[in-house]
């Protein structure tokens, strides 16, 4: 199966993607991870204003089959959460990189993304 991985995003080992615009990072879950999880029923996100440190668990995503942690890919403060997708998680698969964004994080410092992958690297990793 082949999925879409937009070139303008950064990708984490743990299947989050990051869209960097100035000092705001928009974070979501890749199409591959969404497919692996199967039918998603619940997304738990941090609260607006929460401080996040890179690598910590900031929420989780629950499918019929399994529950997976979502990790903070950057240091920063939660600016906004996507309430619409939290209310209708089954729609996540339809547009993971658009309407399916999960949260926006305001960076406290320039993001350090040495650990992240390009679209091509991520695609090679997940074999899609």
């Amino acid at each position: 199966m082949s999925f879409d991985y937009p070139d303008d995003l950064k990708y984490m080992d743990s299947h989050e993607y990051i869209r960097l615009e100035g000092d705001v990072a928009t974070v979501g879950i890749t199409a591959f991870a969404i497919d692996q999880l199967g039918d998603i029923v619940f997304i738990e996100l941090p609260e607006v204003g929460d401080d996040l440190s890179q690598g910590e668990t900031m929420g989780n995503i629950e499918s019929v089959k399994a529950v997976e942690d979502i990790y903070a890919p950057v240091n920063g403060t939660v600016l906004e959460c996507n309430a619409e997708i939290a209310d209708a998680p089954e729609q996540l698969a339809e547009d993971p990189y658009g309407n399916g964004w999960l949260l926006k994080i305001k960076l406290n410092e320039p993001a350090t993304l040495e650990q992240s992958m390009t679209a091509a690297e991520y695609q090679a990793k997940v074999g899609g």
């Binding site: 199967g38 039918d39 029923v41 619940f42 738990e44 989780n60 629950e62 019929v64 089959k65």
Partner: protein, 368 residues
């Protein structure tokens, strides 16, 4: 990954459908094809099919077979009519459940030679075989293990019987619930049992591997949705049917598990009888209850159930119920907290989440 796992005769069929596979009870089994929820809804609304060839299948034949098996089960086998099936359990001396099973009684000759089948769980097939043959000789019950050589396909859902009927001359509607009969399908020998693990009407059909492959393809062409173990699990959970190794095991008794209805204490001696009598007198300390979560969190196997920060039980199975649109679970809780309407908490990733005890099953199929 699947090197040590046994394939069912239908492995190629699953691969052709791009099934996601996983190990289950030593077998390489399909978890899902299109998706668990879609498959689940097909079974509730139309018809789905499952490859359940992994189930343990024992053919039995012997003098007074039912009498020989009677000491091994708490249910009364003597009243079974030819063609009738009985859901029961093997118990240890402490009345812990060694396995749950269905005994399909076929009938007997005038001289008292009776035949039947035992269908048991995949992961417990070897354990059951050892337990059975420890108490009765293989010769006396004509024991034959056909677990690896027969295909079993479950066809389930409101349209299951009409669909299956197109391929067999047997009048399927004359086989009542929990009855079974031999016949043919696609002009090959087959055995039909009106049993299942989904809460819907339907049949489980046993055939040889070649017929199994043809039957799978025929049903697929007839529009039957292939369903994996994922949907099988959500369907059986809505119907509150126990899963061995999760909801019931060697340390849980039928009374605790809500299976008291299959126990008959007046039918003579059986293994576990004394322990069951004791528990009947003293009452069981815990009960398997249905929980409905107030939020969408899923309470999963082994999550603690708490009241005022005190652990009062443990979740054994949990999932999101596609039919109810709510998260549901089975859990053992202290008997005092087992009444419907009781408010409890399930500890999910260290946070208590509210749940309420509800009547089982979560789903009951509409009566026609």
């Amino acid at each position: 990954m699947a090197d040590s796992l046994k394939p069912t005769p239908l492995l190629e069929q699953h691969q052709q459908l791009n099934a996601r596979m996983m190990g289950f009870g030593g077998w390489n089994m399909p978890v899902q094809y299109e998706g668990i929820t879609t498959e689940h809804q097909s079974v509730r609304q139309t018809v789905g099919m499952f490859d359940i060839s992994h189930m343990g299948k024992f053919l039995l034949q012997g003098n007074n077979l039912r009498q020989q098996l009677q000491p091994l089960v708490p249910s009364d086998l003597s009243q079974l009519e030819p063609g009738q099936a009985k859901y029961s359990v093997f118990l240890n001396e402490q009345a812990g459940i060694i396995d749950d099973l269905i005994f399909y009684f076929e009938g007997g000759t005038e001289s008292g030679v009776e035949t039947g089948k035992l269908i048991v769980n995949a992961s417990t097939t070897a354990k059951d075989k050892a337990w059975l043959l420890k108490h009765v000789s293989a010769e006396a019950i004509g024991f034959e293990d056909v677990s690896d050589s027969h295909v079993l396909i479950a066809v389930q859902g409101p349209d299951a019987i009409a669909t299956l009927q197109r391929f067999t001359p047997i009048a399927l509607t004359t086989i009542r619930n929990y009855r079974h009969q031999s016949g043919t399908i696609l002009e090959q020998p087959a055995w039909f049992a009106r049993t299942g693990y989904t809460g819907e009407d339907g049949f489980e059909v046993m055939v040889d591997p070649e017929t199994g492959k043809k039957l799978w393809q025929t049903l697929l062409d007839a529009g039957v949705t292939p369903c994996g173990l994922g949907a099988r699990d959500t369907l059986r959970l809505e119907a509150a049917m126990a899963l061995y190794g999760q909801d019931i095991n060697d340390t849980t008794t039928p009374y605790e598990a809500g299976l008291g209805w299959l126990v008959n204490l007046d039918q003579g001696e059986f293994i576990g009888m004394d322990a069951l009598k004791d528990q009947q007198q003293s009452g069981s300390q815990r009960k398997l209850v249905g929980l409905q979560m107030q939020g969408r969190h899923i309470a999963r196997h082994d999550y603690p159930v708490v009241v005022n920060d005190q652990e009062v039980g443990i979740v054994t199975s949990g999932s999101f119920s596609p039919t109810l649109g709510k998260s549901i679970a089975l859990a053992y809780v202290s008997t005092a907290l087992a009444k419907s309407g009781t408010e409890l908490m399930v500890l999910i990733r260290n946070k208590p989440q509210p749940a309420i005890v509800v009547k089982k099953p979560f789903y009951r199929r509409p009566k026609l």
